[in-house]
């Protein structure tokens, strides 16, 4: 915050109070933004917002919100997981190609293993070699993509099958509600409960706020990082399973389009990319906002390039606002 601004804030207690209120309740402006976007959509295409549209939006927001969970958890410690989309793709692809060989349950297990492995390697690099998570996860993502391409050679003849159960979970609807909520509601509840009420969740905040202080207080940072990135890989893998059920066509770039939005969803949701601040409930709203925004941009026939510019701008603007509001670096 510049000198002029901080004096302006000090002089204007109302402004300060609003800033603090919004800082304490980041959900309120997010909900307002979401409703605003839905309003704009309804204004542009009257009648588009109905029960079916809402169910569809939720259906597409869920995999995004799950992948953004990886970003949220790692960002709480000041990290990021750019390999999440690759891990999810690998799980989805490996699972679908293993189903004809070993059957559904084993295929799911075999599919999840590489995702967890990627997470463990990330955790190792971050915990022991102190590589910046961004560079570490970028590297493992690259290696993972290479491995997937080699793997694909060996399964060209077997073909791929998306299990009916996953297709039901990904695309089906019961009483108008998407079935994926069956997976997502417990998942989100567990995460929101875990981030504030369990020791592990609090350690994430502690490491993100001040790593040195946590180390001195006896936190074994390497254990937390290793567990965190492995967990992030696992969540990414589960997202891949759900997403392949939604898309029903396994490919080598299955979940990759969700990479950018997953980072943006966590940032919009109020999780600080510098660590120690934020939570999963904001991320869920962020994912919903991005999904509605996506529909809006499709209606406006916005080209792919402009979309990417917009996502980049959103990340930059939102982080700048957070830096200004909290005056942290």
């Amino acid at each position: 915050m510049t000198q002029a601004e901080s004096t302006a804030l000090a002089r204007d207690p109302a402004l300060k109070r609003i800033a603090r209120f919004l800082g304490d309740n980041p959900m309120i402006p997010l909900i307002v933004l979401l409703l605003l976007l839905v309003g704009v959509l309804e204004f542009m295409r009257p009648g588009i917002v109905n029960e079916r549209w809402i169910a569809n939006t939720v259906k597409f927001a869920i995999p995004l919100a799950m992948l953004a969970a990886c970003q949220t958890m790692t960002m709480l410690t000041g990290g990021i997981d750019l390999s999440a989309a690759v891990a999810a793709t690998i799980t989805g692809f490996v699972m679908a190609t293993q189903v004809p060989i070993v059957g559904v349950p084993w295929a799911i297990v075999i599919g999840l293993i590489p995702a967890i492995l990627i997470g463990l390697v990330n955790g190792f690099g971050v915990a022991f070699c102190r590589v910046h998570p961004l560079i570490m996860t970028l590297g493992t993502g690259l290696i993972g993509t290479g491995c997937l391409q080699v793997y694909q050679r060996f399964v060209l003849s077997t073909g791929s099958v998306v299990p009916d159960s996953l297709a039901w979970l990904g695309t089906g609807r019961t009483w108008g509600w998407p079935n994926s909520l069956l997976l997502f509601v417990p998942f989100a509840a567990l995460l929101i409960w875990g981030q504030k009420r369990t020791g592990f969740g609090r350690l994430l905040y502690a490491l993100g706020s001040n790593e040195t202080a946590s180390r001195i207080s006896g936190v074994r940072a390497w254990q937390v990082y290793l567990a965190l990135y492995a967990l992030s890989g696992l969540v990414a893998g589960i997202t891949g399973l759900l997403y392949v059920g939604l898309i029903r066509a396994p490919s080598l770039s299955l979940v990759n389009p969700l990479m950018l939005p997953s980072v943006a969803a966590a940032v919009i949701g109020g999780t600080s990319i510098f660590g120690g601040r934020g939570g999963y409930s904001g991320t869920i709203l962020g994912a919903l906002i991005l999904t509605v925004l996506g529909t809006l941009l499709t209606l406006l026939q916005m080209p792919e390039g402009a979309r990417r510019i917009l996502f980049g701008a959103i990340i930059l603007v939102v982080t700048t606002i957070y830096v200004r509001l909290t005056d942290q670096r």
């Binding site: 690099g125 590589v131 570490m136 690259l142 993509t145 950018l260 390039g305 670096r329």
Partner: protein, 316 residues
């Protein structure tokens, strides 16, 4: 002699590694010669410029994740402008690309200075933005490169063993690096990288120096993108794997993530080492996808090693 060895030990070690790798290449492929050297040097060209770009901001204590995306923007801009252009048009295109590179880099730097958001976050956001800009300029690979410009990096110059592309690389890097190293700006870049506060108190304008470092990074990325278009003959809007490669080569070349240390020669030799490893694997007829995995693993290992070394230094 000892002083030279101590100061340039790392670079000399890399050079020895490079010579060793050339020896291995000769064993794998006995008729590896001038043409092999030429194709190696041409393949290394965009990587070398990306690495040089990264090295400058790393010395200044930052990092620029948008290098590969800026290269894509420069590449497609060049390809679009050169479509059906004559000599004048081509020169105009080159000028536009260089200015655009400077401007992109300066914008990155200015955003870091003005928003006071950490460089890694700003350049991550700008990575997406420049990627989008490249896609807006050219949706799919297209455009052309003027033939005489392409000729500039194909074949040997005077001696059969001296590839034109290597001369091109040396001339471009020297044109940026030598004046920089001798100027006040160059010194300031090293200064803000090793201790920002001390630099500020010694009268260095930290913000302006940082913007200049990022602008130079943008300029070198733009040249990298230009060479990409020159060697492939068209513009590719999807950025290549230059980000990780440039960080790995910078670290392998002796630039310390965190700033204040490093030079240009070591990282450029490191680029050739990494390219030669890839070439050897290809010559040994290893599956190209496996080669990608090996290359990625080497780069990650190098970055991890760099992390461990930086940690040791901080403790010492």
């Amino acid at each position: 002699m000892n002083r030279v060895l101590g100061k340039h030990g790392w670079t000399l070690g890399l050079l020895a590694l490079l010579v060793l790798l050339f020896g291995i290449t000769r064993i794998i492929q006995p008729n590896f010669g001038a043409s092999g050297l030429d194709s190696l040097s041409r393949a290394a060209l965009p990587f070398a410029f990306a690495t040089a770009a990264m090295v400058i901001v790393v010395i200044a204590g930052g990092i620029d994740l948008s290098v590969a995306s800026m290269m894509a923007v420069a590449g497609v801009t060049a390809a679009v402008l050169m479509e059906g252009a004559g000599t004048g048009g081509t020169l105009f295109a080159v000028a536009v690309v260089l200015v655009a590179g400077l401007a992109m880099g300066a914008l990155n730097g200015a955003l870091i200075v003005v928003t006071r958001v950490p460089d890694i976050v700003v350049t991550l956001a700008m990575l997406f933005v420049w990627e989008g800009v490249a896609l807006l300029i050219l949706k799919a690979p297209g455009g052309t490169a003027t033939p005489w410009l392409r000729e500039m990096i194909v074949g040997p110059l005077v001696f059969a063993w001296l590839p034109k592309s290597l001369v091109f690389l040396a001339v471009c890097l020297a044109a940026v690096w030598v004046p920089l190293k001798r100027s006040k700006l160059g010194l300031s870049i090293y200064a803000i990288g090793s201790d920002e506060l001390a630099a500020y108190r010694s009268g260095v304008s930290v913000g302006r120096t940082r913007i200049a470092a990022y602008a130079l990074c943008g300029l070198l990325s733009a040249i990298g993108g230009l060479t990409l278009t020159m060697s492939t003959g068209n513009g590719e809007p999807i950025p290549g794997p230059y980000l990780l490669a440039s960080v790995a080569a910078a670290v392998l070349g002796g630039a310390v993530l965190g700033g204040g240390r490093g030079a240009l020669l070591g990282p450029v030799i490191a680029v050739f080492v990494l390219r030669l490893v890839r070439m050897d694997l290809t010559l040994a007829s290893v599956d190209p996808n496996v080669t990608t995995i090996v290359e990625g693993t080497i780069m990650v290992a190098v970055v991890m090693l760099g992390g461990v070394l930086a940690m040791r230094r901080r403790r010492a």
